[in-house]
């Protein structure tokens, strides 16, 4: 009787060790690689925008297809902080000032940027100027195999349970023409 129990236990253990453990390890590595790809794609996309001053439809599509190559689906958030020098300029009036006025930044977000990229207005380009700040963050929306396997053993619940995420931001260094 004991032998049977031990054998069953051994079989279960072996299955776990020989199939599920390698599967989990491989799935984890796949996520690592995906993480790497996503990191690189995000940094490249943001840096390209920062140095050219233009967000183009083709650049964005390239970014999406780079992300897509990992086999997951992603949620992309973009933000442009637009520098408005006018309030600072207005502080310097008639006689020259010893105080510098502060520049004001106002933000526009993914949906606003996308509506311009997708429309025919501005040739599907969103132009930035020197001094603006551009940032993008990405996280996966599907459950990757590694997440599914983990859920099998210990359930991770909640809406924002992503394991692949990347973000990058920086000052725009050229005015898009």
């Amino acid at each position: 009787m004991d032998d049977i129990l031990i054998s069953i236990f051994a079989i279960v253990l072996s299955v776990v060790l020989m199939f599920i453990f390698p599967l989990m390890t491989m799935a984890d590595r796949t996520d690592d690689i995906s993480q790497l790809t996503v990191d690189i794609a995000t940094v490249q996309f943001v840096d390209e925008v920062r140095t050219t001053g233009i967000i183009t439809q083709s650049e964005y599509n390239k970014f999406i297809s780079n992300l897509g190559s990992t086999g997951n689906t992603y949620n992309i958030q973009m933000e442009v902080k637009i520098k408005d020098e006018n309030p600072a300029r207005n502080m310097i009036t008639s006689s020259g000032n010893t105080d510098i006025g502060e520049n004001v930044y106002y933000s526009i977000y993914t949906s606003q940027i996308m509506s311009i990229l997708e429309s025919n207005e501005n040739n599907g380009e969103y132009k930035l100027k020197e001094g603006d700040v551009f940032s993008a963050s990405v996280n996966n929306t599907n459950l990757t195999i590694s997440q599914q396997l983990k859920n099998f053993f210990y359930t991770v619940v909640g809406k924002d349970t992503y394991i692949i995420a990347a973000s990058h931001a920086g000052l725009v260094t050229a005015t898009g023409i």
Binding site: L13, S14, T25, I40, D47, E85, D99, T173, A174
Partner: protein
């Protein structure tokens, strides 16, 4: 064997493999993360360097002169290394440590470029002997610094016709120097100017100059004079609002109409050097009285004769002191007011013709910079045609090794046909522009690869010149920029080899087509490409709307705006309402605008380009 044993053996085999694999992947992830982080940091440090150059050049009145430019570039390079030191703390904090990883910094300027890289200090015996014992530099020292300026130039030769060197620039400005054979005689030539298309009449595209009427047209628009451009200026600790000025050869001359400056007379002209006024009448009343040569009767145009006017010779000018206010209000003779105590400057050789020299006060009130820009272009085009330099092709190129260029696939130049084909010379795809880009690219690539390969002599790391992408070349051709290289840093299993290109869109060295903003009647600045652009009042150079610093009487820093106004939210703060399509150039776009806007734009572009400082090399065979 029992199944448990299988499991144990399996674990023994798989576990190490899995661990090694995991750590390898982790390593790669870190390496690539580090690489992308370094890319960003290098970019940021280069941008910091550029910002330093921008700020220094905006707040200096001499920034366009060569030695001041060298000073600004050296300061900018220091900023680069400081910024690197804070960004790359892994490498070390000092400039000299970081220099081991930076083979070159390239500052591409308007008509040439500087390379900041190490070099060997070489002295000939004579210099070596001349120096005293405790000299700070020695023969054979390895120094890190700016190498001499290299022009974007190319030499062309056709036996029996010409042997000229043409220096190109980031826009259509060229300088031609060398020899031409004209009607059997060899002549030395030195000519410079902007290249524009030439029109056959005053309605077609291009420049048309009617020499009999003195009128000049560009793309069908008559380019006239502008009256009294105004700008705010902070000088001698004093803020003068709306001071009339003209920019000539990079220097702004202001008219002190209301006697705002203590030591000048009203109506005097001054320029500003480091916040101090430099009054343009070369002599003071004291100097005048000490050296006057006597008095003369003076008759200028149809003005009443002035008897016994004290006068003095100074160089090529003769100064007269107008005590009796004879010229006050005589605007039909002179366009400038001439009050008691003003000096009338008369050129000695012209005095005999009883003609007064048009002076700078007159130019301020009637700015003809724009007109002169187009006339210069007209004259240059005619010069090129008359001297038959317009038949230059790439087969006439003389290479660095003095051999004639023959086109091969690996060669640097591929433009087919005549380079100076005036039919479409302004188009970005014209032979002139294609060739200009080839010359600039070849020159930078060649010298840069030499600088980087020479760096190997000073470093233990093997440096290689990375290939710049086409998109990076586009940036370099568009405006003055900084290219920085960082190599040899260990990033875990790999050696970092990266570069960054950052362009400077606001500088006083170049007026690009998008540098002109239109100021409307409500004092709002717009880009020329804005949708439904209201009729403007004047075209403004975008650098003039930037904030400046100065010092007030008590030495406090103050900030002022040379030109006040609000930036348009549709085309400058954001570019959401731009009606130019992306495959259109700005000049093509402007052709489709209203006549008023076209005129404003062409006038402002011409005025600002003509006012820039351009180093002119004059070759005079007689001297």
């Amino acid at each position: 064997m029992k199944i448990q044993s299988f499991a144990v053996i399996f674990i023994i085999i798989i576990l190490p493999i899995s661990l090694v694999f995991a750590s390898y992947t982790q390593n790669r992830v870190e390496t690539i993360n580090l690489q992308t982080r370094y890319d960003s940091k290098l970019n940021d440090a280069t941008y910091d360097a550029l910002k330093a150059y921008q700020l220094n050049s905006f707040n200096s009145d001499t920034s366009d002169l060569t030695n001041a430019k060298i000073r600004d570039i050296k300061a900018s390079a220091s900023t680069f290394f400081n910024s690197m030191a804070s960004g790359f703390s892994e490498l070390g904090y000092t400039k000299s440590t970081l220099q081991n990883y930076v083979p070159a910094l390239v500052y591409t300027m308007y008509d040439g470029y500087y390379i900041y890289s190490p070099y060997k200090n070489t002295w000939d015996d004579e210099t070596n002997e001349k120096h005293w014992e405790d000299k700070s530099y020695h023969d054979g020292d390895e120094l890190y610094g700016l190498k001499p300026y290299v022009y974007y130039s190319c030499r062309y030769q056709k036996l029996g016709k010409y042997d000229v060197t043409i220096t190109y620039s980031l826009d259509n400005y060229i300088q031609i120097q060398g020899y031409v054979v004209n009607r059997g005689r060899t002549e030395t030539i030195s000519q410079s100017g902007y290249l524009l298309s030439i029109a056959n009449d005053n309605t077609s595209d291009g420049v048309y100059y009617d020499e009999t009427s003195g009128k000049v047209y560009y793309n069908g628009q008559e380019i006239g004079e502008e009256s009294s451009l105004k700008e705010n200026v902070y000088v001698d600790g004093k803020y003068i609002k709306g001071c009339e000025y003209i920019k000539k050869n990079g220097i702004k001359y202001y008219l002190d109409k209301n006697n705002d400056l203590e030591q000048s007379y009203s109506g005097n002209v001054f320029s500003v050097i480091n916040g101090k006024s430099n009054i343009q009448t070369a002599i003071t009343e004291m100097e005048f009285y000490g050296n006057e040569v006597g008095s003369e009767n003076l008759l200028l145009h149809d003005a009443p004769i002035m008897k016994s006017v004290p006068c003095k010779n100074m160089g090529t000018y003769k100064y007269y002191l107008d005590f009796d206010e004879n010229y006050n209000g005589k605007s039909d003779c002179f366009d400038f007011p001439c009050y008691r105590g003003s000096y009338i400057i008369v050129k000695v050789d012209q005095y005999n013709n009883k003609e007064a020299l048009e002076n700078i006060e007159d130019e301020i009130e009637h700015n003809t910079n724009a007109k002169n820009y187009y006339i210069e272009a007209w004259n240059l085009a005619n010069f090129i045609k008359n001297y038959e330099i317009d038949d230059i092709e790439i087969s006439n190129i003389v290479e660095e090794n003095r051999s004639q260029y023959t086109e091969t696939e690996e060669g640097a130049y591929h433009t087919q046909g005549k380079i100076f084909n005036f039919d479409n010379i302004e188009s970005p795809t014209s032979n002139f522009n294609t060739h200009r880009i080839e010359v600039i690219k070849h020159s930078i690539e060649r010298n840069l690869s030499i600088a980087i390969s020479n760096f190997n002599a000073y470093s233990s790391v093997d440096f290689k010149m990375p290939k710049l992408k086409e998109t990076d070349w586009d940036k370099i051709m568009n405006n003055i920029s900084i290219i920085s290289f960082l190599q040899g840093v260990n990033i875990g299993g790999k050696i970092y080899n990266g570069y960054a290109v950052v362009t400077n869109t606001k500088n006083e060295d170049i007026v690009m087509e998008d540098s002109i903003y239109i100021k409307d009647n409500n004092a709002i600045f717009h880009r020329i490409t804005e949708e439904n652009l209201p009729t403007g009042s004047i075209g403004i150079y975008n650098v003039n709307i930037e904030r400046r610093t100065a010092q007030d009487d008590s030495g406090n820093n103050v900030y002022y705006l040379p030109v006040e106004g609000t930036l348009s939210y549709d085309s400058i703060v954001t570019q959401n309402k731009i009606s130019k399509t992306s495959n259109q150039t700005i000049s093509e776009y402007v052709k489709g605008l209203d006549d008023d806007l076209k005129k404003l734009y062409y006038t402002a572009l011409g005025r600002e380009r003509y006012g820039l400082y351009r180093q002119k090399l004059t070759i005079s065979p007689d001297e």
